[in-house]
């Protein structure tokens, strides 16, 4: 538990992705089996013990510490597991507990027994290990590690690439001995899972200038739909829906999975669709954030698949075939399926780049965020090869906003004010509409930092409020309604496009200019 606790401690305070990867890599290299396997599962959220509830935990602590002293402490610390870990009285010599023993015992015990077992362990552990154990037992490590990041760290341990790890991921079983053996030079684990994930082919960004020398006839074009890229795999009676990084999201989309009456692997976009009308991304997000989907959710936001590609079909691997051939096979497969919630993303009709540019500039639906270009002769290859597939995204939306708050950055930007909250006018008041951390050069960063220091009104810890003087042109990809923001809107991928040193704050945009860009609400 010591090594795992030390890892969690570092991860909890490490903002940088690279440093996080280094901590994870070090742990996976050094920790023994089966502990590291359980640690991996705990980090990726594939370990759900969660038997110990807050009330039980508090009860255990109050048997040992005066409840008033406990309450004063909890009030100060603000986190129950942390308070218990810090306040737990040491009883006897400090020992250590194997992570694997803790996980295996906790998963075998009922709630009350788990509590008693836990108390016994807490007596023998140090505070950092106590916290790790309590976070494990109550569920939710909250150290900012996604499953994707954990797999990227695994890829640094051994030769296999992250895509290869994603491919075998769902066939692996706790505590992942086979996986670690493979990373350390052993044989690749057999793809034991039915309906496994296949590594996805991704595109690279392009623009008119880069496209100009290319021959339009060699490319097929489709709309770029603003949903999430998924892979629908159904094999031998097992159907699974994966994200493009191999997360299994079947449980959240039973309305898709139950319709996957085929034998094969399809690549497409998951959308919320009412009849022929595709709903904004925000509606899909409501379903993505849930572990399962109730009936109301499914009726209110019905999911659909818009398919791009076909990887395998009835036992045949189609990935080496050219795109054109796969496309014909996809259309044939869909005709046979005859499933109204699945359709093919239409192929756009164009002969010159200019014609395509016109289509891109005026898409038929609001949820289209550009066009995709695919070489007609391209095989389906994993990863992001440069060339065969391009995304040509619609131009970003722009708004001129006033910078209101600045916060110091981390890592490479330590000491620089690099995180900005910006606002738009609403009558005479400025209403914050978003935050941006990027889009400026190092030189601009230095100048922004000077501006912040020279125009600070008030300081709150690492945050400064500023005189409303600086206007920035903010670029963003889209807009959603949001009840969490005072402005009622939430931007997608906002970044600073240009710093308008020249523009007076009074000439920044007004909130209605932004809300006018909201997608229409789509209701069933």
């Amino acid at each position: 538990m010591k090594a795992f606790a030390a890892l969690l401690e570092r991860l909890a305070f490490t903002p940088g992705r690279n440093a996080k990867l280094a901590h994870l890599e070090g742990y996976f290299r050094d920790a023994p089996d089966p502990d590291r396997g359980y640690a991996l599962a705990a980090l990726t959220g594939d370990l759900s013990l969660g038997r110990v509830k807050p009330a039980l935990l508090r009860g255990l602590a109050e048997e040992r510490v005066d409840p008033e002293l406990f309450a004063l402490s909890y009030d100060y610390v603000g986190d129950l597991a942390e308070t218990v870990a810090l306040i737990w009285p040491a009883a006897g010599a400090e020992g250590d507990l194997r992570l694997a023993d803790a996980v295996e015992s906790l998963s075998a015990l009922g709630r009350v027994e788990a509590g008693q077992k836990l108390a016994g362990w807490l007596d023998t552990l140090g505070p950092s290990e106590r916290l790790a154990l309590l976070k494990l037992a109550t569920g939710g490590l909250r150290v900012g590690v996604s499953a994707r990041l954990a797999r990227a760290a695994l890829a640094r341990v051994g030769a296999p690439e992250v895509e290869e790890i994603e491919e075998v991921w769902h066939g692996l079983e706790l505590p992942y001995r086979e996986l670690f053996a493979w990373l350390e030079g052993g044989p690749r684990p057999e793809a034991a899972a039915l309906a496994p994930f296949r590594p996805v082919m991704l595109s690279t960004p392009t623009d008119a200038e880069q496209l100009d020398p290319l021959d339009p006839a060699e490319y097929a074009a489709e709309w770029k739909w603003d949903g999430i890229r998924v892979q629908a795999v159904a094999e031998q009676g097992t159907a699974r829906l994966y994200t493009r990084t191999g997360e299994d999201i079947s449980a959240a989309f039973p309305d898709i999975v139950e319709r996957m009456a085929f034998e094969g692997a399809l690549d497409g976009e998951l959308l919320i669709r009412h009849g022929e009308v595709v709903a904004p991304f925000a509606d899909l997000q409501k379903r993505l954030n849930r572990k399962s989907a109730g009936k109301t959710m499914r009726t209110r936001h019905p999911a659909a698949l818009r398919l791009y590609d076909i990887l395998t079909w009835e036992g045949e691997d189609l990935r080496p075939l050219p795109f054109n051939t796969r496309r014909t096979r996809l259309e044939a497969a869909l005709t046979t399926l005859d499933e109204p919630r699945f359709d093919a993303s239409p192929i756009l009709d164009f002969t010159t780049w200019e014609e395509l540019a016109n289509l891109r500039a005026d898409p038929p639906e609001a949820v289209i965020e550009g066009v995709m270009l695919k070489r007609r002769d391209s095989a389906y290859t994993a990863g992001r090869p440069r060339g065969p597939w391009f995304k040509w995204k619609r131009d970003a939306l722009l708004v001129d906003a006033v910078v209101l708050y600045a916060q110091r950055g981390h890592g490479k930007r330590s000491g620089f004010y690099s995180d900005f909250t910006f606002a738009l006018w609403d009558g005479d008041a400025l209403v914050p509409v978003g935050k941006a951390y990027s889009g400026f050069t190092d030189e601009e960063l230095r100048r922004l930092d000077r501006f912040v220091r020279d125009h600070t009104v008030e300081r709150f810890g690492p945050v400064r409020s500023l005189q409303p003087r600086l206007v920035v042109e903010v670029a963003f990809e889209g807009l959603n309604r949001s009840r969490r923001h005072r402005s009622g809107v939430a931007m997608r991928f906002p970044r600073i496009n240009r710093i308008r040193w020249d523009k007076p704050a009074a000439e920044a945009d007004h909130l209605p200019a932004l809300t006018a860009l909201l997608p229409p609400e789509v209701t069933p």
Partner: protein, 333 residues
């Protein structure tokens, strides 16, 4: 009615028999100063009694004319209707407890203190007394400072894991910085340690006082030098982290050495990547054990989290009084 050993005035603690204030936060005629942290040692008093080292430190910080006159507390001194002596508190170099005796009774004002060994100053000396005045900075049972060696080992492990990232550690200029340096030396770190200019004079003073700090280098290097650093430990006062000074370092690991780092929310608030729980104050166990050891008829609590100590006094049947002294920072810079 017997004269009280200590009284509370708007300026702070006052001994009527001595006719002197202890660590007053406003200028007074006569002050006894426990240690050199700015919230305890202010300039502008008429006369100051303190240890030689505290007087030196005040002169370094405020200039030689920081008080009308000064007196080194050497042995027992008779002042007014009482006797006073200063004994070590183990907090920082020169820190002392004020022992006051009058009318056959004894009061001890401990200032700030810790029972953890500090290689940069003399250890706390327990003096049994009738009235004990304690601090309560970390007076919650969640504060149990780990052995400082463990925290230093974490720092060195991080330096080994990220040799290309300079480790910038926030420390207070008086006491914490020198203690951190001594702890690093004891852990076998003999490479030069870089220090921010604000730490220089107090580090020099420690060396003059016979505390070996090893090779220290100024951290006021240019960008190119800062970027060429490898396996570097740089100490700076917390205020430096909000200044452009820090911008010269490429992708630093920012740490902070303080008892507050035990609480995650506090560490996050400061944007710290490597929190080091190293404190010059007593933790909960030390505070309660010290009161139990000295077993005073009554104890007073100057500043900090007095609610929890009051509750503990209730539970253990002790007489206690919260003074809720204002003007003391949580930890001095």
């Amino acid at each position: 009615m017997t004269e009280p050993l200590l009284d509370l005035t708007p300026e702070g603690l006052f001994s009527p028999a001595l006719g002197a204030h202890i660590d007053p936060h406003r200028p007074v005629a006569r002050a006894i100063i426990t240690h050199g942290h700015a919230d305890h040692a202010r300039a502008g008093h008429g006369a100051v009694l303190a240890t030689r080292q505290t007087l030196d430190i005040m002169a370094i910080r405020y200039g030689a004319d920081f008080a009308g006159q000064t007196q080194v507390a050497d042995g027992e001194i008779t002042m007014g209707r009482a006797r006073v002596r200063l004994v070590p508190a183990g907090h920082v170099l020169g820190s002392a407890q004020v022992v006051i005796e009058a009318g056959g009774r004894r009061a001890v004002v401990s200032g700030d203190y810790t029972r953890t060994a500090n290689p940069a100053c003399a250890p706390f000396e327990p003096v049994p007394c009738d009235l004990f005045v304690t601090e309560a900075t970390f007076a919650l049972p969640v504060f149990r400072h780990p052995p400082p060696e463990v925290e230093i080992a974490r720092l060195l492990a991080s330096v080994a894991a990220f040799p290309e990232r300079p480790h910038l550690i926030g420390t207070y200029a008086l006491g914490k910085a020198q203690r951190l340096i001594m702890l690093l030396r004891q852990a076998g770190w003999h490479a030069p340690i870089h220090i921010h200019g604000a730490l220089q004079r107090l580090c020099d003073y420690h060396v003059e006082q016979g505390i070996p700090l090893g090779e220290l280098r100024p951290a006021t290097m240019d960008r190119a030098e800062a970027r060429a650093l490898s396996s570097a430990i740089v100490l700076a006062p917390p205020s430096a982290f909000a200044s452009p000074w820090v911008q010269r370092f490429a992708d630093p690991v920012v740490g902070f050495a303080s008892g507050w780092m035990q609480i995650r929310a506090r560490a996050r608030q400061r944007g710290v990547e490597l929190p080091l729980v190293i404190s010059d104050h007593s933790d909960w166990g030390q505070l309660t054990a010290t009161v139990e050891e000295l077993d005073p008829a009554e104890f007073w609590i100057t500043h900090g989290r007095e609610d929890a100590l009051m509750r503990w006094a209730d539970l253990t049947g002790r007489r206690a009084r919260p003074l809720r002294l204002l003007g003391y920072e949580e930890e001095a810079e």
